[in-house]
Amino acid sequence: MSDLDQLYQAVIVDHDRSPRNAGTLADATHHATVDNPLCGDVVTMQLRIEDGVVRAVAFEGRGCALSRAAASILTTMVVGRDLAAIKTLGAAFETFVRGVDGPAPADLGELAAFAGVRRFPSRRACALLAPKALDVAIGHLVTLDTCT
């Protein structure tokens, strides 16, 4: 597989074209919008968190295939998890994306499709925008707009 095919794996293209949990959440308890000022990409994450566990999630993303796919995949992985588990997931994904080589840890699920981004250092920030939004959102009960 070429570098490009590695980068734009079917999983990523599919989530970009048909994002899961896209939209807004009427009863969100947590919310964050994070943008990348260098490229103008924006991801908004909304969560309903009850008793420390995520019950519902939605995202809105304006940006490249990588940033939208990362957001979409993440939303499929967080419902039912507690905040500590989400932080662990985000950290594991960041470590993976910033790494050089090697297989993805099993608990990354579909996020393993981002293996190819390790060969495109200038695109790492695209993959990490959504986890950043998720991280900011779970840390804040109120609406918060921030720049990366």
């Binding site: 980068l7 734009y8 293209v13 103008g40 990409d41 940006g63 490249c64 295939a65 695109r123």
Partner: protein
């Protein structure tokens, strides 16, 4: 006098680099131009034969550096039709504009006054005026841009009144590639007593610049888009304006006599050049202009105009590609249906084609056109038909990859 693009290309060693196994098609000169051997050698020569500081020592190395540095300033002045003492050396266009905003702006823009910029400006010709206006209690007025990407003269005229102290516009847009009618804008600004600052960052490498004929009051540009090293820039200002302006940054080089409680400032341009300058960079800029002067400028303009038409026509013929505005020179920004500009740029890069993606530091302009980002191909004299064909072929890969 070489008038053959193949001969011009041979002067650029960076063009020989293989990118991902492909011939390099460098279509990002609007970000920064490549550097000819003449410039690279001039910079090396500073460190091997003229390694002293300028305007400070009496020893041989300092004298050699000073002579080359002063010669570069004279070369720059002649290139734009200005006087030597009207050429302030900065670290780039951004610093040149900030210099005017801080020095001229704080002296002339007060509460209730206004500054006008156009809706197509690069952030570096927008944010300094936002900050100045906020600081002085002045108003920033935005001159509208039409669907072709041109500044609407009627709209701008409607914003002009006695409260406007300065109008700041880009000569050649870094996104939509439109050329502003500077001489006419100068007349309009002067009619209400305002001064005109021109951001020439893009124009300097593509349009003949004669500041006297343009009639503007300040002209700012960067060396690195004119085949010179990064870290150099120029603020040309009308002599009487510069002479009345207070210093911006202070320190060595810009002062006459200094006492513990006060200092006298030197005359322009030195008043605005505190500290040791980018000596090698400035000498490199002089070398770039000297190199350019040896080429057939008419042939360059004809070559670039033909390439620009071809670039436009090629992109317009590709299904799903939409050109932003109606570009006149040097750059063509575009979007590709169902593909984000970053993905487009990454995919064509793997075919050896270098283009820019994002908002190109002109976010409000993209908003004006209802898009968040665009891809941008930009030209320089070393580009050829082959580069444009490579872009077209690489763009056909986009749909395959994002299947």
């Amino acid at each position: 006098m070489p008038s053959d693009p193949a001969a011009w290309r041979r002067d650029f060693p960076a063009l020989d680099v293989r990118v991902h196994g492909h011939r390099l098609a460098y279509l990002d000169s609007a970000s920064t131009s490549l550097k000819p051997t003449a410039v690279i050698e001039a910079v090396v020569r500073v460190f091997t034969h003229a390694a002293g500081n300028v305007h400070r020592g009496v020893h041989a190395l300092s004298e050699a550096a000073t002579e080359a540095f002063d010669h570069a300033r004279a070369t720059i002045a002649a290139f734009i039709g200005g006087a030597i003492d009207e050429v302030v050396l900065t670290h780039g266009t951004t610093e040149a504009i900030n210099l005017v905003a801080h020095s001229w702006g704080r002296a002339h823009v007060g509460a209730g006054d206004a500054v006008i910029v156009s809706a197509l400006e690069h952030h570096s010709n927008l944010v300094p005026w936002q900050v100045l206006c906020a600081d002085r209690g002045a108003t920033l007025r935005i001159a509208p841009v039409d669907d072709r990407g041109r500044i609407e003269l009627a709209g701008l005229t409607a914003l002009l009144d006695g409260r406007v102290k300065l109008v700041a516009v880009s000569h050649l847009s870094n996104v939509v590639g439109t050329i502003a009618p500077i001489a006419e804008l100068a007349r309009l600004a002067h009619a209400v007593g305002a001064v005109l600052l021109v951001d020439g960052a893009q124009a300097i490498a593509h349009l003949p610049i004669d500041v006297a004929a343009l009639g503007c009051d300040f002209y700012a540009f960067s060396g690195h888009k004119l085949f010179a090293p990064t870290g150099t820039g120029v603020l040309w200002g009308r002599r009487e304006l510069l002479a009345a302006m207070p210093p911006w940054q202070t320190g060595g080089e810009m002062v006459g006599s200094v006492h513990h409680d006060a200092a006298r400032y030197r005359e322009p341009p030195h008043r605005f050049e505190a500290g040791t300058p980018d000596i090698a960079g400035v000498i490199g800029l002089g070398a770039a202009i000297g190199w350019l002067a040896n080429l057939d400028r008419t042939a360059i303009e004809a070559h670039e105009a033909r390439l620009h038409r071809r670039l436009r026509d090629t992109l317009a013929a590709i299904e799903g590609v939409r050109i932003v505005g109606d570009p006149e020179a040097a750059v063509v920004a575009f979007t590709v249906d169902h593909a984000h500009p970053h993905d487009v740029a990454t995919i064509v890069d793997r075919e050896g084609v270098a283009i820019r993606s994002g908002h190109h530091c002109a976010e409000p302009l993209h908003r004006r056109f209802g898009i968040a980002a665009s891809a941008r191909a930009s030209l320089a004299l070393y580009n050829t038909d082959e580069d444009i064909d490579a872009l077209a072929a690489a763009l056909s890969r986009v749909r395959q990859v994002l299947r």
